[in-house]
Amino acid sequence: MTNDSLNILEVRNIKIKRAGALLVDIPFLQIERGELLSLIGPNGAGKTTLLLALAGLMKPTTGEISFRGQKIGSDYSIFEYRRNLAMVFQEPLLFNTTVLKNVASGLTIRGMEKKQIRQIVKESLERFGIGHLGERSARTLSGGEAQRTSLARAFAIHPEILFLDEPFAALDPPTREALIEDLQAVLQETHTTTIFATHDRAEALRLSDRIGVMNDGSILQIGAPEEVMNHPMNEFVANFVGVETILRGKVIRRDEGSFVTLVSDHEIEAVGDVKLGESVALCIRPENVTLSTVSRSEALRPQGGASGKGRYDYRVGFPPRLQGGASSRLARETTSARNVFHGRITKITPLGFFQRIQLDCGFLLVAYVTRHSVDELSLGEGKDVNASFKATAIHVVRKREK
């Protein structure tokens, strides 16, 4: 055993090929005991395939997986390894029998005594709030109840590692919400090492200690949720973790620490160490964009030190005419935000507690605003507003030279 026993699972150079296609390629991955690692990525990213390989249900073409420092397949048989884990799929995959017998199935397979099984099953059912469903046929359960049964069945085994493959994807939002909450509580109590595949970044953020973003069979970035969310290492990750606005442009001026990028005729100030003329992607999280309504006095107030293309177009009068999607960069007199743009609301989408507002500022900008603010500012589609965001709120992704 070469590794400290903190790592329950270790992956080295696994590649999974099927029908000539490389589905999964993971050079190295360690999973710490007790952690919850989420694998997020679009459909077809290889999350499920990787999960199946890690769970000993699919043989990697090459490479090795070690469990507690022992190589699976040589030091430790796959069958023995599987007895240490549990898996829950998107479909509950229950057996055509009672809920009780379903939850007991893992223990029955292990040949445990009936009396002992009864006790464990009872606990597991109650943990997931389905103690009253024991005698019911699994076929008569609702989607949420069925998935609870599936989770109870997994936890009844007291697994060392729990694999979850999109377990909430088929549930309606309130059911999902309640189940995630309960699962979270159970995980906090049991400290079960969990690997969770999902395409829902909100679920991942909520539950994870670490997030790995997958695409095309590789883990592009892995780290603490804040790190992945705030410092996506490339555009794909940025896109996937929910940076809604990604603006591409060239650096036209730079100062100490800050620089200006020209994005479709608009100058955007950001912070970072870049080269002049370099192509960059500016990632702006919607929650970092502030909206304010355009007041007549503000619109007519003369501005000093005018220079630069695309600024001060607002002089055409109020409300500013947005010709061909062109917008204007406005004065920042009343805000410390380095970037203030004039734009028109093109779309409002309710997203639960807040609303997603899409703006045309000459470039596409997305802002999240609370419902309260929407009402107060009487925001609506077609309305003109000022959008501001701080230079420091922009995450800069430098195009990697190939």
Binding site: L52, A55, L57, F79, R82, R83, L85, A86, M87, F89, E91, L93, F95, N96, S105, G106, I109, R110, S137, R139, T140, R153, I157, F163
Partner: protein, 232 residues
């Protein structure tokens, strides 16, 4: 009309009085077809499950052969079993032709593809991920197969019934390899054929009623079990 009415009346009389000949014919029918069905279950379920759960070269051909076998004409089966058991045929030294054993062999050949085909379809109908789920629950491969068979128990019951229904009503092979020998290899179908050709419609109708009764019983059991499973 008289002929039919007379026939039905006499048929009921034969049934009510437990006519010894009708009774022994019925008993032999059940014995032969029941044994054939049991044997076909063993081969049908094991091969059907194996083909359903594994991937191998020529699998498609195997599946199409099984499906073709489900409609095997009994007379063709009768012909080949007769050839094999013929005195100087490959298995002639057993001297089994014109015995109930020969009938069991022929009926097994007819019922096995039926059971196999339905088993195959039933197992393939189960979600593929169910196998992974069972393995993830810590099952050995053997445990997995057993759990899958239990999961497919309803369609498998249909396989039993279809197999039994197929052979108890079959006449061609039974008459060819059994010979319809009175008190020895005469079963419901072969007796019905013979009595009808002789114009003994009363006996033929009585035998026919018994056959219909079996068909009805099979369906009754099947429906009952299916409905009970649904309602749970």
């Amino acid at each position: 009309m008289d002929l039919i009415l007379e026939g039905i009346k006499k048929a009921f009389w034969l049934l009510i009085t437990f006519d010894p000949e009708v009774f022994s014919i019925t008993f032999l029918s059940l014995q032969v077809s029941g044994s054939a069905t049991l044997i076909s279950l063993f081969f049908g379920i094991s091969v059907g499950t194996t083909v359903a759960l594994t991937r191998f070269r020529g699998r498609r051909i195997a599946v199409s052969l099984i499906n073709t076998g489900m409609g095997l004409p009994p007379v063709v089966v009768g012909l080949f079993v007769t050839i094999f058991l013929w005195r100087n045929g490959p298995l002639g030294f057993f001297e089994m032709l014109y015995t109930p054993t020969a009938m069991i062999i022929a009926q097994t050949v007819i019922a096995t593809p039926i059971v196999m085909g339905i088993t195959l379809a039933a197992m393939q109908q189960l979600p593929i991920k169910l196998r992974l789920q069972i393995l993830a629950l810590g099952a050995t491969r053997l445990q997995m197969v057993w759990i899958l068979i239990k999961e497919a128990r309803l369609p498998l019951l249909a396989a039993v019934m279809a197999g039994f229904g197929g052979v108890i009503s079959e006449v061609g092979a039974s008459i060819m390899v059994g010979g319809n020998i009175k008190g020895y290899s005469r079963v419901l179908t072969t007796a019905t054929v013979m009595e009808t050709s002789r114009g003994n419609f009363d006996v033929a109708i009585a035998l026919g009623i018994i056959l219909l009764l079996f068909a009805y019983l099979i369906n009754l059991i099947l429906t009952h079990v299916q409905q009970r499973e649904r309602a749970r």
